[in-house]
Amino acid sequence: MSNIPVDLKYAKTHEWVRMNDDGSVTVGISDSAQDQLGDMVFIEVPEAGQSVAAAEACAVVESVKAASDVYAPIAGEIVEVNAGLADSPETVNTDVYGEGWIFRMTPTDKAELDGLMDAETYESFLASEDH
């Protein structure tokens, strides 16, 4: 069973979102997503200062199996990216909810966060996606 922390929110495209005290949000991919993709070999992060629309592809995670887009869970501006992933993409496998974060953004409209799933909903979403 994959690890789904209760203090995070989740997008249907398998990103996790952490609400920070300063109003920004941190984004990564879920444990289930990293497990399905397997060993990471390359991660392309967005640029700080870049504006993104909700559901816009803004990062790429490439594993031994596939290259997949990472989508902005909400609209906003990228304020910080995890530069360490360039040298150690495997961090996404080993510490997916911690050092494996991909970017931090400030939301255009905080209300958009309400449209994301909580842990329980994401868990049943994962179950429903299973064939």
Binding site: Q36, G38, D39, M40, V41, F42, V64, K65, A66, A67, S68, E90, D130, H131
Partner: protein
């Protein structure tokens, strides 16, 4: 051992192959190299043994069962190669006048006609030099069509999430935004999501039918109507044409443009970077934009149709007319099959896939779309094995190599976890199909009793399990030794 490591200074083999002096006297002195190139020096016998040994380490359709799904890897009859190599075809110069190449032009004209007939498209151009160029050509024609109509707001191509990765890449190369359409639970395109996605920005959709999920999209006519009503065009990716050859025609399904991978369906050499051929077929409204040259027939004279007659053509894709030798092989294959043979290709490709699917299901394997009939390929998911035994699709794939069979495609399409995409093709015998099922059943037993046998596989090949992460991140192909 590398051929460089077998090198001994001064060892030569050139006496066995008399060289013809090349006329290179006009190369300026300052562009000529001073020293000899660093090439291995070995005898003919050494070279023959070296490369024969290398070829024996390889898995190939000539030596092993090779059920790679999503990219038909079928047997190429030797006759196609032999006949395409006849001196009259082989030695023809591309600049020779039409009057001196009537035999070749007749073959190309007939190939155009046969591809039109089998796809149901009113016009065909043979000139794209690869599947990828065929895709580019197809979408470039969609763009040319909209531009000619002053319809410049259409900036989006729809691509189902089950598509080959080349489709979004092609749309992007042609300057379009890609909008992904989800797949429904039954494996067909989610038509409601499609309906919601189309609009004045829709330039077209790129669709593979049968899809990479190994099922035929049953609502294709409805999809065609939705796209056409929105003013878009339908692009058919010919990757899986083998399944429906002569049975259902993309033109009749409502497609406006198709590219055909001759290496997948029409028995031309596969991959390795080329040469290839990816002809395109189009509906009447796209015919003016076809790339040139195309072969025409006037009375009993064959001739090249060029820009002079097709001013709206998207132009030329290469200096001449594409890869003549590859197209010849496809022509000969199609002529040998005939119309009846084309049907039998689809019959047996589909029968073989469904036979394998039925036998593997009976043996306890889970298929991704159990309610659906397989086309030429189908998907086994090993998610249960991963959850219960910690054995992955990759472990199964590697262990199959020990049973002297090439593994099916693993981890594609991405929509199905722990998947094997299995495509036996029409040329496998029942005995070979049964042997594959037997191997899968044995491997399943091993997974339950001696799982490390799978995790450490392959055991019998020149190289063992590769470190895929290191291979991707620290690829090192440079030999840094010295020649004796």
């Amino acid at each position: 051992m590398l051929i460089f490591e077998q090198s001994r200074a001064g060892r030569r083999a050139h006496v066995q192959a008399p060289a013809q002096a090349a006329a290179v006297a006009d190369i300026p002195e300052n562009l000529l190299r001073g020293g000899r190139p660093l090439l291995p020096e070995a005898s003919e016998m050494q070279v023959v043994r070296h490369f024969t040994r290398l070829s024996q380490k390889n898995f190939s359709i000539d030596t092993q069962f090779y059920p790679l799904g999503s990219c038909t890897m079928k047997y190429n009859p030797r006759a196609c190669n032999t006949l395409a190599m006849l001196p009259g075809f082989l030695a023809r110069h591309p600049l020779a006048p039409e009057s001196m190449g009537q035999g070749f032009l007749a073959c190309m004209f007939e190939l155009q006609e046969m591809l039109k007939d089998v796809t149901g498209m009113p016009a065909v151009s043979l000139t794209p030099a690869a599947g990828a160029q065929g895709e580019f050509t197809g979408v470039a024609m969609i763009r040319a069509y909209h531009d000619a109509n002053g319809d410049t707001e259409r900036n989006e191509i729809l691509v189902p999430d089950a598509a080959h990765g080349t489709n979004p890449a092609t749309a992007t190369m042609c300057g379009y935004q890609v909008h992904e359409i989800p797949t429904g639970k039954d494996g067909d395109v989610d038509v409601e999501a499609l309906r919601a996605a189309v609009g004045p920005h829709t330039a077209g959709i790129m669709l593979t039918n049968p899809s990479t999920l190994g099922v035929f999209d049953r609502r294709i006519e409805e999809i065609a109507a939705i796209i056409h009503e929105a003013g878009g065009l339908l692009y058919y990716d010919g990757a899986n044409l083998n399944a429906i050859l002569g049975k259902v025609r993309p033109g009749d399904m409502g497609f406006d443009v198709i590219h055909m991978n001759l290496h997948k369906t029409f028995s031309t050499p596969h991959g390795g970077g080329g040469p290839g051929a990816g002809p395109v077929g189009v509906s009447k409204r796209l015919e003016p934009y076809l790339p040139v040259p195309v072969v025409g027939l006037d009375g009993d004279e064959y001739y090249w149709i060029t820009e002079a007659v097709r001013p709206q053509s998207i132009g030329r894709l290469s200096t001449f007319m594409g890869n003549a030798g590859v197209l010849m092989r496809a022509y000969i294959y199609a002529r040998m099959l005939g119309s009846e043979g084309m049907h039998r290709v689809a019959d047996f490709a589909t029968l073989n896939a469904n036979y394998l699917m039925a036998r593997l299901t009976a043996a306890g394997f889970d298929v991704a779309y159990p309610g659906r009939r397989a086309t030429h390929e189908f998907i086994v998911t090993l998610k249960r094995q991963k959850d219960e035994l910690g054995i992955t699709a990759m472990d199964f794939a590697k262990r199959l190599l020990d049973y002297n069979m090439h593994a099916p495609t693993t981890y594609f399409p991405l929509l199905v976890p722990e998947c094997l995409l299995i495509e036996p093709t029409e040329t496998e015998s029942k005995e070979d199909l049964d042997a594959f099922v037997d191997a899968m059943v044995k491997i399943q037993k091993e997974a339950e009793t001696t799982p490390d046998l799978l995790r450490e596989a392959p055991h019998t090949l020149p190289v063992r399990r590769l470190d895929e992460v290191r291979a991707a991140k620290q690829l090192d192909l440079v030999w840094s030794g010295t020649v004796d």
